[in-house]
């Protein structure tokens, strides 16, 4: 079976991915990285998990009516990913751009498995994904993530809190139960897919400095 996720891509562009649970600050970090890359003369293209128009209707009705199962949830996100890979990831990579992805297949490996989906099945499912050049995982404790979300007065999202699993009717409690499992899965993935880890309990500026260092090292390496 073709496994492009395990094989370096041959495109002139670079694919940089951030991973982490909700509240890890990864989106903030990715935005700051994009500013810096653009300011230093790189052409940047961004893509976000679960953002294609193709499955929007199904995801929305599925979530609203809470009729998604772990398997259909997983397949809808894979469809979204396949669509974005076709339109938003491969073309800018071919054009030599820096593609910044907010979450990637590893999110599915962590979240879907936390919902009970078979580990190998979801890995086989995403074997068509382009292998990123750099994956940075913003590791944070569930308590810190939850504190941040609550401080921002963000209402915890039903699925992000894993409330579809029915483990707890209390959103923060459900978030803790579910995201603890997600963190455990990420922990496996770090070694399996060579994720670079940044301690996301640190301050925003410190994390960004480390992030930029990782990216520069990578860009220099790939120029050699």
């Amino acid at each position: 079976m073709l496994d492009t996720l395990a094989t370096p891509h041959g495109y002139p562009g670079r694919l940089i991915v951030v991973e982490g649970i909700d509240g890890s600050g990864k989106t903030t970090q990715l935005r700051l990285l994009a500013k810096w890359l653009a300011a230093t003369g790189h052409r940047v293209s961004m893509t976000e998990w679960n953002s294609s128009a193709l499955v929007r209707t199904a995801v929305r009705t599925g979530k609203r009516k809470n009729v998604l199962t772990p398997t259909t949830f997983s397949l809808l996100h894979a469809t979204d990913f396949a669509d974005r890979q076709l339109y938003k990831i491969i073309p800018p990579l071919k054009a030599g751009m820096a593609v910044l992805a907010d979450r990637y297949a590893y999110t599915a490996f962590a979240r879907d498995v936390a919902r009970g989906v078979n580990r190998q099945w979801v890995r086989d499912l995403y074997s068509f994904a382009v292998r990123p050049d750099l994956v940075v995982y913003f590791r944070v404790s569930v308590d810190v993530a939850l504190e941040r979300l609550i401080a921002r007065q963000v209402k915890l999202k039903f699925h992000e809190a894993g409330m579809d699993m029915g483990w707890s009717q209390n959103a923060p409690e459900s978030f803790q139960l579910f995201q603890t499992k997600v963190l455990d899965e990420y922990q496996h993935i770090v070694g399996e897919h060579e994720l670079q880890v940044i301690d996301a309990n640190e301050g925003i500026t410190d994390q960004q400095r480390m992030f930029r260092e990782l990216v520069s090292q990578h860009l220099e390496r790939s120029r050699e």
């Binding site: 079976m1 193709l54 199962t69 396949a82 669509d83 989906v117 190998q120 086989d124």
Partner: protein, 252 residues
């Protein structure tokens, strides 16, 4: 390592998953049975499904039908996607897999547990064949559909492309997708239909042994096909353990 997809003869028993299954249940060994009717568009599948259902219900069996792309979750999305012209083979197959998963979990498994006979107007094989023809990795497709329970009976209504094209023209004409126009062979829909269907039919044929298809000639009259279906289904059901309504059977 869990068993990957193999044909019924290769070890996957009816009611068990072809590969890595759903989170729950682990298999289905309850009273219900799955009968799948496969075949390309225009072969007369739906007519046969309707007649078979009628026959089974007269005999006292509870029947639930399930059909490709008719899940509550995905039906509308698939319609929108098919008309939007942005699909590629991979997104196409994933939308259908999601539709199938929704029906598996929300229709098929509950019906099986309640003791129904589920007649599937196309199961997973058409989706796999269509994607194979469009160049999607066949091993990947089999793993993707690992969450499908192996049916108890799979009938494949076989036809050749030349007979099929005449029949389809008699019944309202050739459609865009059935002629594989997305594959961009050329502009002639008639030529494309034959080229596409020939490839599709070859793919079905190649799957017959792996998935234990019972092949039925789809070119013979409707009644003749139905008689064969009834004979084979009848023999199969008569051989089932008493959970399938012994009282009714003794009345029949």
């Amino acid at each position: 390592m869990t068993t990957l997809v193999r044909g019924a003869r290769g070890g996957v028993r009816p009611g068990h998953y072809y590969g890595h299954g759903l989170p729950s249940p682990e298999s289905h060994t309850g009273p219900g049975r799955i009968i799948a009717i496969e075949g390309t568009d225009g072969v007369g599948r739906s007519t046969q499904v309707r007649l078979l259902r009628e026959w089974l219900e007269v005999r006292g069996y509870g029947v639930v039908e399930t059909g490709l792309a008719h899940s509550r979750l995905m039906e509308r999305s698939i319609q929108i996607a098919k008309s939007s012209n942005t699909l590629n083979p991979l997104t196409f197959v994933l939308l259908y897999a999601c539709d199938f998963a929704d029906r598996m979990e929300k229709e098929i498994i509950p019906a099986l547990s309640a003791g129904f006979i589920v007649i599937a107007d196309r199961y997973i094989y058409t989706a796999i064949a269509r994607a194979c023809v469009r160049g999607v990795d066949s091993q990947w497709l089999r793993r993707l559909y690992g969450f499908a329970l192996a049916p108890h009976l799979v009938f494949y209504l076989k036809i050749d492309a030349d007979t099929l094209v005449k029949r389809v023209l008699d019944n309202g004409g050739i459609s865009y997708w059935e002629s594989g126009m997305d594959m961009k062979f050329g502009d002639d829909i008639f030529d494309n239909f034959r080229t596409y269907q020939r490839r599709l039919l070859r793919t079905y044929a190649a799957m017959a042994k792996e998935f234990d298809f019972r092949v039925i000639d789809g070119r013979v009259p409707i009644d003749t096909i139905q008689e064969q279906l009834q004979r084979q289904v009848g023999t199969f059901l008569d051989a089932q353990p008493s959970t399938m309504d012994p009282e009714l059977r003794s009345c029949g």
